[in-house]
Symmetry: C2
Subunit: 258 residues, 2 copies
């Protein structure tokens, strides 16, 4: 398997002290990964974890703006985000596209590809990122041996379906303020689960990308941020956010009319 992203590592990148050739051979151990509580191995026994280590052979670097995979690419691996941040998007025939999700450390990319052996969406890095490569054939045979891994994998796929249903609810029945509030709450929850502050965050995506995800135009996203700021709910400085009034934000999501 070729790893085109490796050729794109610039000399200015911080990890460039490590010779490029070696990145490919860098082994990643799930058993020692600090994401193991979030990622695929959740709940696995020590012996199962050791099996998984054999499976996850390589990392791959994806620079900001580059695609990990694109719609139409043939599918042979899933990817677990190690560091960085991604968006996934689908496109319609006429060029409109829809951001279908944002993925951060410990989250899985590529499940869409299983269905037809080709990816049906693009996964694009929103900052310089690293992923663990999980060859799918090997994962399938490993899940046949280790029922805990199988269970965990199925749960992850199911969770993605449930998440998508939540987004449908958002897109189908919420108004702009509720959508943005729900988005922010989801984001902070996931950041908090990774040990970050729940109050302060830096957005890795543009207003346009948020808008695409939420079914809104970028101007509406910007206006709604401003309104939240005027209402004392948020402090907004470009992509730097501080949540000042969490209860109000939560109320926006739960109450239909206000």
């Amino acid at each position: 398997m070729t790893m085109p992203a490796l050729r794109e590592v610039p000399s200015t990148l911080k990890v460039s002290a490590i010779p490029l050739v070696k990145i490919e051979s860098l082994k990643v151990a799930c058993s020692s990964c600090n994401l193991r509580e979030l990622c695929l191995p959740v709940g696995l026994s020590v012996s199962d974890l050791e099996q998984l280590d054999k499976l996850v052979g390589t990392r791959r670097q994806v620079l900001r703006g580059n695609a990990l995979f694109r719609s139409g690419d043939s599918f042979h691996a899933l990817y677990a985000v190690r560091t960085g941040f991604f968006k996934t998007r689908v496109s319609s025939e006429d060029g409109r596209d829809q951001v279908t999700g944002f993925q951060m450390a410990g989250e899985l990319l590529g499940l869409d590809g299983i269905s037809t052996d080709r990816h049906s969406c693009d996964a694009v890095a929103l900052e310089d990122s690293q992923v663990c490569v999980i060859p799918y054939e090997q994962l399938e045979s490993l899940t046949r041996e280790f029922s805990e891994l199988q269970r965990q994998f199925h749960k992850i796929m199911s969770r993605e379906i449930v998440r998508d249903h939540g987004v449908m609810l958002l897109l189908g029945s919420m108004r702009a303020e509720e959508r943005l509030a729900a988005f922010l709450l989801n984001l902070t929850q996931r950041l908090q689960a990774r040990g970050f502050s729940a109050a302060a965050l830096v957005l890795r995506m543009t207003r346009e990308e948020i808008g695409s995800y939420l079914g809104l135009k970028l101007e509406t996203v910007s206006r709604t941020f401003s309104k939240f700021q005027d209402d004392g709910i948020l402090e907004v400085k470009q992509r730097h956010l501080r949540i000042l009034d969490l209860p109000s934000l939560q109320r926006l999501v739960n109450n239909s009319n206000c």
Copy 2:
């Protein structure tokens, strides 16, 4: 496992000539099911099919308006629609709900439950229906033995994810006419795959349910039907539809501006 739906079979139902007790013991053979080209067993070898027969033990009857499962119910089985028609819906805290899909013969229900061992949506029959019960524990162990079944199951889950992404695109970026056109095309394609006419169909759901699925109000759905009729694209008589100009319908989905 109790089967509450059986108690709801009314004496007026056509199949009531069969004593109720027997329905529970009615075995269904995937290997002889006329849905086998559409349902879980697609692509399975004869021997794998025989294994699957052992798994799918019972049918369950669900009458129009009744729920196969509800959000919060504990999860232990998947269901394959044998006959009839279902909708799935999720609800927000404040009572708004969103139809997340319509399922017809050969399609699978319940994948949402795997993630947390509880269902996260309601599945409601839109007409008197029958489903095959697929106990999940047994399915998991069977997929560990039969890699083709495993592959097929994973593809079905992945396909659901891809479908959901398509709905997000629809909800996030299409206008009313495009949404309804896309919905109708999807419906006719699935009906056609089941041997029904591509041109004439009977809707099993109300305008309100279509609207909920498409993120529109029922009045907008009704008006858009009327407009399609005025434009000579559709003949609409309540729930009876006839597609008069398929190319126009397809153009509506593909072209953004017109």
